[in-house]
Structures are given as structure tokens and as C-alpha cells.
Amino acid sequence: MSDPAPDDAADRSATLRTKDLTKVYHTGEVDVHALRGVDLAFYPAELVVLLGPSGSGKSTLLNILGGLDTATSGHVWFRGEELTGRDDTALTRYRRSHVGFVFQFYNLIPSLTAAENVALVTEISARPMAPAEALALVGLENRVHHFPAQLSGGEQQRVAIARAIAKRPDILLCDEPTGALDSKTGVLVLEAIETIHAELGTTTALITHNVVIADIADRVLMFGDGRVVETRRNARKVRSRDLSW
């Protein structure tokens, strides 16, 4: 085997870097190649949108970057430190300290209020913001003591975002955060992500099917068949509030 670390592995300027990343799922008798050699880097304060059809490998990449899944081969470095091959405990610690997740389905704990859902994360973080502060960032200062069942879909997603960023993560990974929302509510959610990105300077990766949303990114990665087929840098970023679909 060749030396796994490329020359630029120690490049700590990149928050996340991947090299020859592949992922094969063995489902029954067929092998599904979800990733076929992905080389990428994500930089501090960068907002990257990942576009592509279903099954193109976006979510798989995001899960591996976030330490939810492991690659079949290839390498991932977080700030120059190799994530590949780490065990479950180490990956849990990595998620706990550095990663914030937002999913299409909000996955709030129904038995906890908005503030408590956020506190769930702040209680186990080293330098968190106050739950109320995180909720204020996403414009929910008036819904702090509401239970999920008392919140609209957009509000629930914003609580999920507040929960993801309250620990001041280094990376924010959003998988179709607006997928279940209407346009107007979706814009509110994107605004929240934008605000956080601006205020905290978090490296943010956002998966979407919606081409319009790509306009808010610094950089857009087009996925197809497990590979990055096109990279585009937006000359001019559009503000979320100016989007509509």
C-alpha cells in the first residue's frame, strides 16, 4: 500500500479534506458504489452546496464527513488529522466536539421543549452558547418553552438548526434542510443557516435538490454517480431572502 497521507494532508487550512474516498454498500446480492473516489477540501467559513440527483452520493459523503459512517477506502482528514479508521468512540467524540447536523426531518425530541432540545447539546459541549441565544439566532426567541408538537414545521427545523449550532461546531452539515418545507418557510430556514454561517464562521455543507438554493453558496459541487462531476464558484452570492421557488 502507498503512503496514505498526501503531501497536503497536514494542510491545516482546510477544515475537512478527502482523498480517493469510496463507499460500497453490500445490500443483498448487489454492491452499490455510492462513492467512487472523491477528492475534496472544505475551508473555514466556506458555505458549500452539494447538488445532484438521488443516489449520486451526496448524503453518503456528508455522513462520512460527519463521522456517522465510515468509508470503504480512501482518507478523510479533519484539520489535518486522519478520521479514517477511527473507532465508534472516537467518532462519537468527534461529532460531539466539532460537528452539527441538520436533517430533512427535524428529529427533535418530542418530550423536550425547544430550549431543552438545544440544552441537550449544550450540556455535553465544552464552550456552548446559551440555549436562548442559539434560539434567538434562528429567530425563535418567543418559542423557547414550546414542545415540538406546538411548533410549525419551519419552526421545528429552526430549533434543529439552533440545536446543531449551539455548541459552536466547526462544521455544519445540512442534509436537505428545506426538503419538507414550503418555499416561504424554507427561506426562513436558509436565512437561519446563513446568519449562523456569517456570525460564527462555521464551515457549512448543504445538500439540496433545489438548484435555486445553490445561489447562496460560495462554491457548488455537482454530484453524479458517486463522483464530483462539476465544481462551480459563485461570483456573486445571493441572499436567501431574495430566493424563491
Partner: protein, 787 residues
Amino acid sequence: MHPLNRKLARDLVHLKGQVLAIALVMASGVAVLVMALTSVEALTETGIAYYERYRFAHVFAQVKRAPLHLEQRIKRISGVQTVEMRIVKPAILDIAGFDEPVVGQLVSIPEHREANLNRLAMRSGRRPSPAEPDEAVVSGPFAEAHGLDIGDSLRAVINGHWRELEIVGTALSPEYVYALGPGALMPDDKRFGIVWLGRDALAAAFDLDGAFNDVSLSVLRGTDTERVIDRLDALLDRYGGIGAYDRADQLSNWFLQNEIAQLRTMATILPTIFLAVAAFLTNMVLARLIAVERAEIGLLKAFGYSDVDVGWHYVKLALGIGVLGVVLGWFVGFWLGRFNTQQYAALFQFPFLLFEPSPKPFLMAGFVSLAAALAGTLSAVRRAMRLPPAESMRPPAPPLFSRTALARLRAAEFLDQPTRIVLRQIGRWPLRSFLTSAGIGMSVAVLVTALHWLDAIDHMVDVYFKQAQRLDVSVGLAETRSSVVLREFEQLPGVMSSEPMRVVAVRLRSRLREHRGSLQGVPAHQRLHLVYDAHGQQLDLPPEGLVLSTMLADVLGVGRGDEVEVAVLEGRRPVFSVAVADTFETYIGTPAYIDIRALNRLMRERPAASTVHLRVDASQQNALFRALKEIPQVASVSVKQAAIDTFYDTMAETLLIFISFFAAFACVLAFGVTYNSARISLSERGRELATLRVLGFTRTEISYILLGEIALLTVVALPLGCAIGFGLATLVTEQFTTELYRVPLVIKPSTFGWAVVVGLIASAASAILVRRRLDRLDLIAVLKTRE
């Protein structure tokens, strides 16, 4: 196969852990029910067949001495079918190699014909031949206990004379199914044996030519035995009759029927608990399955399946679980029933055992259990049937939680979020949480109830044998003797002190009720055989008046100060009226005490005793036994330590085995409840737990949330179970109360402790199984799908 049925089969396989856990709980209930009912059936059928085949009598009576020609007058009593007149006498037996004097019951059998009633079931050998007065048949278990064989000899004191008897056969008798020696609490085949001798031989020995001292009758079907008893008593009165009694009051039969009654009690209480818990578990699993399959239900309805089709589909699932439980329970129950009946066969002496269970117990257990399973499905199935198709295809609204009173407490502010999740989950479904706790509690309760028997028996033995009896040996005399006899006994080797007791057969009458029993005359201040209240206090007898056990006072409906008429059934047969001076609590029997001097006075006799209690130097016990065997007037000898040992041995053979069964069943119960609760929690909250893992919670931290809930419910369950166990033990001891026994309600702290430990272990075992599933939680799959 219809696709829905295929789905059903796959659901059952998919839910196998939970299905099995419920089926096991149900099987426990079915097994106990089948065991109890088949044993009841086997004992009843065996008893009936035995009694019929060997012509067990319907009415029994003892007299001092009555002429044989009375037979014709007895036969003329309306309803009487057959009469058998016998000689029945006690004797001391001497077995080579066995130090203690053995108590024998000599019973006459006709020499030239088969007995009309209470026939012998010969086990080996033959009956005594008319020409050989020393030929004897002995009871089978007694011969076995001493390794006696045909051709062996046996020494017996018969009417004060040593006789060498030759064993020519062994037999069983319907009269001695439960062979209790005089004053014994448990059958002891080593220390009590029945010896059948030819009638002429016994008549000659006891000077009863042309006379009898025991009569048994059979009556025609439909005859009122009470009337026969009254007529018989009237006939026998002048011959020293001590009162005839019905088969129901015959000692051996009473114990047999009592055991059957207790088995019936067991068949109601325990299965009810198990089946109720199984119903609850079925409901829980089904409700969850229906919640998960909401969309499928909507789809089925959209395709045109009716509400009834959908409901029936889930009912079939419950029936599937039920059938599995019932079949499992049948097998275990059959095996337990046979085992149990065999245990009884060792305790109750039957010449044959009919364990041929009819379908009835099985059908009944199956019906009751399936009914319980169905009852458990009702609310869940109704919910499935009522789901409108359009609504059911949308995901359910998230459950609404609210801030409870708890949340407003100051202390609640310090709770971390995982703990809040646990508490809110319990608060959101209080009934389900309570029932889960109650289910786990039930397992603790079953254990407390089962283990309580050990405490009760220890306590009974302690009070009855150790605290109340300071004596070592009791000697029964063949005839009442002057108290001077005490001095003779005090001269015997090893005797440290002695105390007389005068026992007379009496009929006690209050205004309305009557009780046949005995009156025991003991010294006002007893030293060896104490009049002892179960609460731990010795009673000194007043110079006049009766001291009754509370049970007897209840039977007679009298209290302190009330007059009781005492009709003595021996000697000059005086009748007198005495006031009740006091009552006291006892666990065994229904004794009535009076100062021995008062009794002697009322009997118009010199100071006399019929039993002598002795305190003995243990090192000289065998010398004492040898001496006692040589004293002609000794009719029985009972050794306290031997009685205690027999008591424990019998209990170990019967009760301990049951307790271990119930411990196993209790574990199944605790396991079934916790496993199902944890699995359902996992299914309901897999998403939550996966989310927490994504947020960076470790496996241990999310286990805290899932298992913390179970742990908290278990913690609530333990004291709850102890309380329910106390209640159940109370109920059971009340159910088991008879005139002969009162089981004391004594539960040692260690019993609660053990029950709690076993409950904890069973819960922990199921928690560990579920914890392993947490490790396999698929984080991505859970989060990518809408619930």
C-alpha cells in the same frame, strides 16, 4: 397463502423476541392452571376409584366395647347398606435396628371372608391364615421405610404383652391414604405403621370375644348421613361411643380433600396474575405494531379491505401469540401435572394412580388464556379499525407533551435533559408506565407469596414445637392412670422432669353449634407442654373455666364469659357446663384446655393422666426408648425432634419444589415485562436515540435514557411488588385456613430481599439483551426516513 396471512407469519417471526416473552408469561399461567387442574383431576379420580374399588366406608364410629349382635340393629338404620365391625387398638412396635418405639395401629380383618368395607389393597404376600394368630399384614410404606419383607418378624406390645408377629403380606388401605400417627402433623412411615391381624387373634388379645370397638358403615346413595350418624350415636352411646362421624371428617380423607381444595385455590390465584400480565403485554405490543403499521393500514383500507378485515388481521396476530403460549403451557403443565401427581403419590398412599388427564383442563386453560389474549387486543384493534384511511397514511402528529407539576418544581431545574426525557416519557403515558411497574411488581409479589411459605413454616415450627413445647418426648398411655404414674416415669433413664396431661374425648356445645374433639387437662402453670398464645405468651390456667383456641371459639361462636356444655364421651360420660375463661391464638388444631385438677374433679376421678410429657437428657435417650418399650401401658411415644424433622422433610419434598417452580415463573414474568417494555420503548424511540447518537451522545449515555426508564419503573415496582406480595400472601393464607391449620402471615425481611433480588436480576437480564440492540442502531437509516 393469502398475502395478509403471509404478512402475519412474518410479523410473528419479526417480533419473535417479544412474541416469545409474552408466550412464556402466558405459558406460565397455562402451565400452573393445567398442572393444578390435572392434579385435582388425578387426585379426585384416583380417590374415587380407590374408595369405590376398596369400599371405603361412609360413616365411622369408635366405642369402648360393644357386642357383635348390635350389627342387626345397625343394619336396620334406614339407608345403611353394609356394616363392618372391627377391633382397632394402638400398640407399640419394636423394629430391630430402630431405637425409637414405633407407634402401631392394630386393625382387625375378618379371617374367613373378604372385609365388607375398607378392604386391603394387597401389595405383596397374602392375608393372615385363620389358624395362625401371629401372622400379620403391615402397611406397605411402613414396611418399605424399615426394609421389612415377607417372612420378617416384628415385635409388638399387644395389650401389655410382647408378641412376635410374622409379616405375611404388605397392603394399603383407603382409610390410610394419609397415614397420620396419633398427634402427628405429617405422615411418618418410620414411626407410624398399620398392622392388620386376624379378628379372632385380636379379640383374644384384647379380651373382645363377641365384641367390637370400631364400626364402619356404607350407606345407600342419596342417604342423609347426618341422620344415620344420629341413629348410630343413639345405639352406641351406652357402649362408650365417642360419636360417629362422616367420611368428610375421616382424618386421611380430610387431608386428601383439603389438598385438592388447596390445588383449586392455586388454580385460580396464580394463573389470573400471569394471564392478566400477558393480556397487558399483548396489548402493548399490538398497540405499537399498529402505530408502526399506520400507513399500511391506510393502504389496506384504501385498497378496499374493510375495518373488520383489518381488525381480524391483528386479532389473528394476538391469537398466534396466544396459541403459542397455550401450546407451550400445555406441555409444561402436563409435565408439571404428572410430576406433581407423582409427588402426591409419595405423600398420599394410593395403590394405583390415575393420571389420565381429560381434555377438560387443557380446553379450559386454552379458552381462558386465549380469552385473556383477546381481551388484551381489544383497545389496540379498535384503534386500528377506526383509523380513517386518509388520515392513517399521513404520519401521526408528534405526541403532545406538557410541562407537568414536576417541571415547575425548583429541583427540576437541576435535572439534565436525558433525565427529563425519561421522566416526561413516564409522565406522558402514566397508565402504561404504571402497568409496566405493576407487571414487574407482580413477579416480585409471586416470589414473596411463594417464599413466604418458608417463613410461615419456620415460624409455625418455632412457635408450635420450640416455644410452646419444652418437652422432648410425649408418652400416650393405653388407659388413664393415676398421677402416681409420673413418679414411675421420672425414675426412667434420662428423664429430667415430667408433666401429666389428661385428654378426654368430648362434645362441646354452645347455644347453636357443636364440636367434637378433646379437652386437655394440664397443670395451671405448665412447664413442658405450654398453653401458648401464638403472639408469644404462655397462659396460666384459671382454677375453673375453659381456655379455648380462638379457632374453636369461632367454631362454637363463643367468647370469654360464655358457657359451653361439655359432654364427655368416655368413663362415666358426665355432662357439665363450664364458662370460657380465656381464648388464645394457635396455628395448629383447635385445642381446648382446662386445669387438670378441675378436669379430674369434673370427671369425678382421682388425679389421673392419659399422657405424660417428658424432658429428657439427650445422651440417655436410647436407654429411655429401650425402657419405654418394656412398659406395657405405653400406647404411643412421640419424639419432638423426629416430628420436627418429618415436618421439614415433608415440606422439602412438596413445598420447596413448588417454590422453585414459582421462582422460575416469577423470573419469566419479570423478564417478559421488562423485555417487552424495553423493546417497545426502543421501537418508539429508536429515532430519538439515533438523533442523540448523531448529536454526539455515547452508547452509554443513550442507554441511560432507554434503560433508565425501565430502571425507574423497576425501582417503583419493587416496593409495589412487596406490597402486592404481602396482600397476596394474606389472601393465600386466608384461603388456606382450615380447622387444622392456620398459616401464619409471617414474612421475613430477607424474603422481601430475595424477591427483590430475583426481580432485579430478571429485569437486568432483559435490559442487557435490549442494550445489545442499541449497539446495532442504524443511525443513518433512522434519520433519513420519516417515521
